[in-house]
């Protein structure tokens, strides 16, 4: 800690220079702000090595982009990994144009352009300058077939390209909206063709997005055949040890200190250990301490920070929407009713849940809805015969969204 003197209004005031932890909330976490989980990276490169194409599944804020950015940086030798957030592409043309130009540009940086220069020139796509930059010749062209050709062209290279496309479902939705169903199906077909043609074997596609790709594909095609070859990698919450590692990492050099007990208390309070929630709580506790000019965190401060987070009114609307989108009407009604009951009454008994299901008559067995939907999708956690909310933040939100009115069972 450094002591500094601020000078104003002719008074000397000694203030402690406060150093905040390296938290990041919002942008993908990188470097010292990111906790690498080796097993995710290992699994990923294993799949890539086995020629699989990958789909990252997880809701927003779980850290998909951070993972992908990290994969881009840590790719093995002989691999060119390209991460790109592509959410602004509005149609098929823009999408393929982006993939094409991105690929050319990154290959250039990797020093592979010299070999491609002739090809680029012959197709009057662009000129390669001596420093390896490409000057694209603006002209209407079919980027889809150009891209396929380019991939073929580099097939002979001893270089594997992994394209990590963030927010792809968004783009697919835009293509569907702007170009229509046919173009969307065509896009999916083209991507599938890349994955299944041996000529393209050095090219791996990785998709991720905060809206479920399956959901958009179902809208496009009605079936999931067009993406069922993708290998899903699920990204889960942190386990408590990982969460602690993350906290220690973020606290490096910071003024704030946390004892093991208070850290346990904080993790218990966060409960649903998304890296984002850990970052957020650390950010808020830091603010609480900084205001008090106190370095050691107490349980009370954790409570204050928790209140601050709740007060900011995070929006968990999607948690509610997912239920109504994917479940039948009665199943959704039952699940929402269940969540409302568990939100207001943590001691709610399973027996009562059964009674409630007799009243609402969901299409699916009540226990299945509890275990296979609400627990599996991260709403509730099961402890013996009892269920409770995974995330206290979600619980607080749910309580406000669904007041305890009309719960008479």
């Amino acid at each position: 800690m450094i002591l500094l003197c601020y000078h104003y209004s002719n008074e000397f005031v000694v203030k402690m220079r406060w150093v905040s932890p390296h938290t990041i909330t919002g942008s993908p976490a990188e470097n010292e702000k990111y906790l690498r989980r080796e097993y995710i990276n290992e699994e990923f490169w294993e799949y890539v090595g086995a020629g699989k194409h990958i789909l990252f599944t997880a809701p927003r804020r779980i850290g998909k982009s951070s993972v992908m950015k990290d994969l881009e940086k840590t790719c093995p030798d002989g691999v060119l990994a390209i991460y790109e957030d592509i959410e602004s592409d509005k149609n098929q043309h823009e999408f393929f144009k982006r993939l094409f130009e991105l690929l050319v540009e990154r290959l250039g940086k990797k020093g592979k352009l010299k070999r491609l220069a002739g090809w680029l020139k012959s197709k009057s796509i662009g000129e390669v300058s001596p420093d390896g930059r490409v000057k694209f010749i603006e002209k209407q062209r079919d980027y889809k077939s150009e891209l396929l050709e380019l991939i073929k062209e580099m097939g002979s290279e001893q270089l594997k390209v992994v394209m990590l496309l963030d927010e792809f479902p968004d783009v697919l939705q835009s293509i569907l909206d702007n170009d229509g169903k046919k173009a969307a199906v065509d896009t999916l077909h083209t991507l599938r063709e890349i994955r299944h043609t041996s000529e393209f074997k050095n090219f791996t596609l990785v998709f991720a997005g905060s809206i479920g790709l399956e959901h958009v594909v179902a809208k496009v095609d009605g079936r999931l055949k067009l993406i069922n070859d993708l290998e899903p990698i699920q990204i889960d919450q942190l386990d408590p040890e990982e969460a602690k590692d993350l906290i220690h990492q973020l606290l490096e050099g910071a003024s704030m200190t946390i004892s093991e007990e208070v850290m346990d208390y904080m993790l218990e309070k966060i409960n649903y250990l998304l890296p984002y929630f850990v970052q957020l709580m650390l950010d808020k506790t830091n603010r609480v301490l900084r205001k008090k000019r106190q370095t050691e965190l107490t349980e009370e401060d954790v409570d204050t920070a928790f209140e601050l987070v709740v007060k900011e009114g995070r929006n968990f609307g999607d948690w509610e929407k997912r239920l109504t989108d994917y479940l039948s009407k009665m199943d959704a009604e039952f699940c929402i009713g269940m969540l409302t009951r568990y939100a207001h009454d943590p001691e709610y008994l399973l027996q009562k849940a059964l009674n409630y299901s007799v009243k609402v008559k969901p299409d699916t067995h009540y226990k299945e809805l509890l275990d296979d939907v609400l627990v599996k999708d991260g709403y509730l956690a099961r402890e013996g015969q009892k269920y409770r909310f995974q995330s206290p933040f979600l619980r607080e939100w749910w309580k406000v969204r669904y007041p305890a009115i009309g719960i008479d069972d």
Partner: protein, 778 residues
Amino acid sequence: MRPITYYQMANLSDEEVKEQFVVRMDEYDQVISEIERDRMTGSIQHYVFVGQRGSGKSTLLRRIQAEVNTSSKLAKRLIAINLSEEQAGIYRLCDLWDRVAQELTLQSVSVEEVSWEVYGNDMTAYAKALYLTIQKALKKHKKKLVLLLDNIDRIFETIKGDQKLFRELLINYKDVRIIGGSTRLSEHHWQYEEPFYEFFSIIRLEALTREELRELLEFWSEFFSEPSLKEFIERHPGRLESIRILSDGMPRTMLNLIELLIHEPDKKGYEYLRQIVDRATPIYQERLGILPPALQKVLLELSFFWDAVKVKELVAAVKMESKTVSAMLKQLVDMQIVEKLKGQGRNHMYRLKERFFNLWLLMTQGGPKQKNQVKWLTAFLETWYDEEGLKVYYKKLIGELAEMDVQKAWPMAKALVHSRYLSLDERDYLISEFSKISGTAHLKMSMPESSNEVFTEALLYAHGKNLEKAIETIESIEQNDFRKNLLLGLLSYQRSDFENALVEFSKAFELGVEIAELGIGVSYLGIGDTTTALAHFKNAVEKGVPLSELLMGRYYNSIHNTSKAGKYFSLFATKFYQAGHLDQIGVDAYIMVIEWWYALDEKSLLPFLDVAAVSGYPSALIDRLYVDYELRQRQLEIQNNDIELPALDYQIGLKDRCILLIMRLWKNEEISVDQTYSILEEAITQRETLMVNWLIKQLLLHYQVDLVRLLYENPKFGNKLMDIARTLFIASDLIESKDPSDEYEGKGYAPELKETTLNLISFIRYSRSKLYRKNESK
């Protein structure tokens, strides 16, 4: 003093900004330390300051800009652009980047021009191209950009379609750190489906703390060489805190208010308030203006309540569905305009957070109905002036009242009359003084009744066995006063609500009314705690509290201890007759106890009447006397014995003549119609409304209905009389009717006066039945 609130940080030089930035240090430190530490090679933390207009967002942004500009370490690798003033033309992302490019060029980071025509109608592609040229220019100069965007919520709104591209650029590249300012937190573009969901670190700008405010003002005082400011802080810490609460700690409003306070002495009442309100108008107008009409409506209706309300009450006022109103309230809470308070049970209560904003809405947006309710003005005055200040203001107003324009005087007079900081006597005096200048009945009606009238009305209800209504009537008086406590104690006692009686008597006792200890005693008797009751009686006897011996005697009598009872009764009698005179408070307290005592034991009232009469409390005495024929006889004795009736605050001549007139009525003597006219006319001219009412009531009681009708028809003062005593006029019309309630409506009298009038009629009839034997008529 230079008007500090006219002053805008935006126009100052970097050095000046740095020098003059004294509050919001924590928030500033938090962001600037991250800027200093982070080289923008990994994750970049973007920030948004959220706070109301005037909470210091722009100042913070400007301060950060100044730091980046002037710190040699930062300026080496960063360049700050602050688009706070030039936002009008931004409605697509390309406009934003275009503006940034221009600014960069001005700061000698020249950005290549990009021709938009190349992109045809694809403005998104153009925006991207612009961004890439900016990136190129920054790279060339080895700089990263700190982009300061005030009203970032508005920018998001206008570039709606380009939000995805905006986010994508921020994620794919590492050139820009955004620091925004916003008044809103939960707008839709920060919801889950939207690209910027949880993208920013939100820093809320809460109310300035007491210390921050002090620091700020001390700085201003020195900086502007304005010692009066510093003096004010030292002399009025309480008022400073009031202002902080009133303005919800918003720096701009606070400065506005304080500045006016310092210049207060030469300003007058309501005009002065108007001026304050006018000064606040630009800030508040803007705050209101950014809300969609439906939210404005909810906010406005909420402000008209002034106090915190439940959703249900608000729903009735705005006439929208409860769900909708709840949702809108939530938005207003998120914007920190409305605050949610814990109500009883599950319901929450809502009210405007910044009380001064509420006041502004009432004064500028309210209709006549809202303006007529002055509880907000009272609350404002009480906050604005502390107790001492309010008393000073009261004296000033009383002094100037005679020359003031009635229309201008009444809101302030009315607001003061309801203030708990005035004493009951001050309140009554203001009411009577105001009635001297209030020409129109409308204005007069808007003032409450004097405490005497309120107490009388309460007693009317009590006689009608409507004790609850009686209590409610007394509680309409805001001021703390022993008379109020005593009466509430007596009424609670009559309701057998001994717990509350105890509370009220104890309050009166704390205010120095010794006789209230007897009330405490009898309350304990009611509760069943004889020991404590007796201890209080004994204590009272030792202190020589009048009546205490009597109560002791009664107590021993009730448990058949005749010897002790006799001892105390005789003690009582001796002491009582020895009592010389009582001071005003003593008399008032006496009268109260007499009222109550009368309810228990009519005859034992007699000796007290002598004391009260000689102590100069004629009106209360005589007004009560007539209820019992035996008492009337006693009264006649008083009269025949030539006991002088000195008047305390009435002009002796008129009051005496009036009392004599009423005495004649009591003695069944002839009264002169001319004399009655002249007394009444004089009373009306002198605005002795109490006396007028008293006289008319007495006439009705003694069956002088025809005379009363003539008085109301008198061409000289009939109309004025009607203004002063309308209910009595109606009572005179209906007193002989079989079913006054039924006839009341048939005759088309104002419904709001019905209850009072009917109570009055039943009281007069009850008194008549006591005073005159059945079937006896005059």
